[in-house]
Amino acid sequence: MRKSDIKELGYILIHPYDGFESLSYHKTGSPILSGIIIMCFFFFTLFERHALSFRFNFYSVENTNIFLVFISTFVMVCMAVIANWALSTLWDGKANLKTIWIVFGYALAPYVAGMLAQTVLSHVLTIDEGTFISIMMTGCAIWSGFILWFGMLQVQEFSIGKNIACILGTLIGMLLILFLSFLVILLFQELFAFIKSIINELILRIFV
């Protein structure tokens, strides 16, 4: 991560189309910076649950499960990246895993910044003025969506129709990964239970 990467991120946030074109052409962009943003996505989600002011905080701090938050933020993004990469290799997309990681990370930047701003603003606004916060968050989400859209378009060099299909396919791919990982976890649980019962049996036979 160099200083120029941050500069480039700033340019991409405002000119996503041109920015990603030069990014994919010059092979710039920092996966570390992207990773920091995605980690920030996780940390700020956690932070928000604790630090939102009482008026806007509907989370129960006692019942927050950090592991679940981690899965619903960081792991989700990772899954989206992998699903997208798998799909793009099938559909002759031009991007490699690193570029897709960078696109997803950079695209999250406005939303992550919005989350931080929301946390700060919640301490100075009343419930009636909370509409501003929700408008801001919607704006940030749309901004992030735009960046993701143009980023995908540029780095994969898809047509618009194919890009839509790719994004829908990514969602389906995420579901598939989720399903498969559940299956694997369940199978391994069975396996471990089997091994455990064998060990128990052996211990009982040999030592008792």
Partner: protein, 484 residues
């Protein structure tokens, strides 16, 4: 050895008063926090006495199903199994027993497993379940009006007219709940003419209902007839206030939610509380023990006691619909029930009728309960400063009382102490009021610091402008020098 004896003697002496001093309550006081999780609370009502049906009666009570307390404090117990009405004075001495009734033409009339009773003025309204009548009589047993199934086409003619509960409003209109009639309470004029239905529940759009709705669009008529027809759940009971507001209760329907409605005379539900009854559902052997309200009783100042037949608990709600106390339970001790069926109020005493134990249990508020009731009364009136003192003593006894925090918060808010009010509203988990207090607090901060901030900003602005201008002038001079 001596030491040991002395030690044990002291130990026993210490422990005896504690055992006798501990108030033996057969139930645990609890309430619900902001996440709808049960948390401990101080007991607000204690059982006073249990009266079994041997109050100088020749025949004891046999599964009494309803009772009503008239305005002069007499208790009318509807002794369903013996088909009679037992009238008790408010101190539980026998007043009279009404066993036979007389029709206006002189013939005798006996009740046949009546289910509901209501008293208004000098008239007694009885829902005579198995005779399929509602009768109106005076206290001597002279029937002045007998309602049977109306031949009005709007009244469902398919089933028999089996009245469950009855009441009358200040105009003398008679409201009855009829078994199987889900359109609401059937309303009759004081002359006995059927008018209309009053207040009905609606079908809750649960997933199952919506799915069936979807299938019904695809299926043909024969298939449709096989599907269950969703109709609103009937009220299980109701009560009326002096202002003719009807409080109705409904046992859990398919969505598992028990409900209470406050219906105004035009038939609109004005209840403000959201979730009623036990919010955590106990499960045992694949059966959920949902709250099922069987009766409600409303005090003159709109406090609502509702009786849950599943767990035998009584929930007290304030006029705004906030939970105040939960007491009672199932069991065989004093203060617990086996099949509670009716609840009534005399003064600040609560009476619960148990059909299976043939008993009436009276509860009265503890010192703490009285304090909370008094503070709530002041609070509802809007007398916040006076209620604040009581709330503070309440909080010393029970830190889980949310309304106490809100009450203190409001008192502080109206006396202008916004910062403290914010603290109390947060403790009481009241977002709306906290936001209001915060708004005032914020503007007071802005008002206090705005002059300083603004003067600093303007000084900085002036200094910046001056610095900039001086720099420009210097530069011009330099340029001039170079050119010169």
């Amino acid at each position: 050895m001596k030491k040991a004896i002395a030690f044990f003697t002291i130990l026993i002496i210490i422990s005896i008063p504690q055992i006798s001093a501990a108030e033996q309550v057969p139930y645990i006081g609890y309430t619900y926090d902001k996440w709808n999780v049960a948390i401990p609370s101080t007991v607000g009502y204690l059982p006073d006495a249990v009266y079994y049906g041997d109050l100088n009666l020749e025949v004891r009570f046999r599964s009494p199903e309803d009772m009503y307390v008239s305005e002069d404090g007499r208790i009318f117990v509807l002794d369903t199994g013996n088909n009679r009405v037992v009238v008790l004075n408010s101190d539980f001495t026998l007043n009279k027993v009404i066993e036979t009734f007389k029709m206006s033409d002189g013939t005798d009339y006996t009740l046949f497993s009546p289910k509901g009773i209501f008293v208004c003025g000098d008239l007694m309204y009885i829902a005579d379940y198995d005779n399929m009548n509602v009768i109106v009589s005076d206290f001597e047993g002279n029937i002045s009006l007998k309602l049977s199934k109306p031949d009005n086409p709007t009244f469902p003619q398919t089933s028999e007219f089996r009245p469950l509960k009855v009441l009358a409003d200040s105009q003398g209109r008679i409201y009855t709940l009829v078994l199987g009639v889900y359109q609401g309470a059937a309303v009759f004029t004081s002359e006995g003419e059927f008018v209309d239905f009053f207040g009905s529940n609606t079908v809750k759009p649960t997933v199952k209902v919506l799915m069936d709705q979807f299938w019904k669009r695809i299926m043909n008529r024969e298939q449709k007839d096989q599907l269950a027809n969703y109709v609103p759940v009937q009220f299980t009971n109701f009560d009326i206030t002096q202002k003719d507001f009807v409080y109705s209760c409904t046992a859990a329907d398919i969505s598992g939610i028990s409900e209470i409605c406050r219906i105004n005379p035009t038939g609109k539900n004005l209840w403000t509380g959201d979730s009623m009854g036990d919010l955590e559902v106990g499960w045992y052997k694949n059966k959920g023990y949902y709250t099922a309200f069987t009766d409600v009783a409303v005090t003159a100042d709109d406090f609502l006691f509702s009786l849950d037949s599943t767990k035998g608990r009584i929930f007290l709600y304030d006029p705004e619909g906030n939970l105040v106390f939960i007491f009672g339970g199932k069991g065989n001790q004093k203060g617990t029930f086996s099949m509670p069926s009716a609840i009534e109020i005399i003064g600040d005493k609560v009476l619960v009728l148990d059909t299976s134990k043939n008993s009436i249990t009276t509860f009265s508020p503890t010192e703490y309960g009285e304090m909370v009731n008094e503070a709530l009364r002041l609070y509802i009136e809007g007398n916040y400063p006076e209620s604040q003192e009581i709330w503070e003593t309440v909080l010393k006894q029970d830190g889980n009382m949310y309304t106490a925090y809100i009450g203190i918060g409001k008192a502080l808010y109206y006396s202008g102490k916004y910062k403290e009010a914010i603290y109390y509203f947060r403790e009481g988990s009241d977002r709306i009021n906290e936001s209001r207090a915060f708004e005032e607090y914020r503007s007071s901060i802005i008002r206090a610091y705005f002059p300083y901030v603004m003067s600093v900003v303007s000084v900085l602005f002036l200094a910046g402008t001056a610095w900039f201008t001086v720099g420009k002038i210097r530069k011009r001079r330099k340029d001039n020098k170079i050119h010169a």
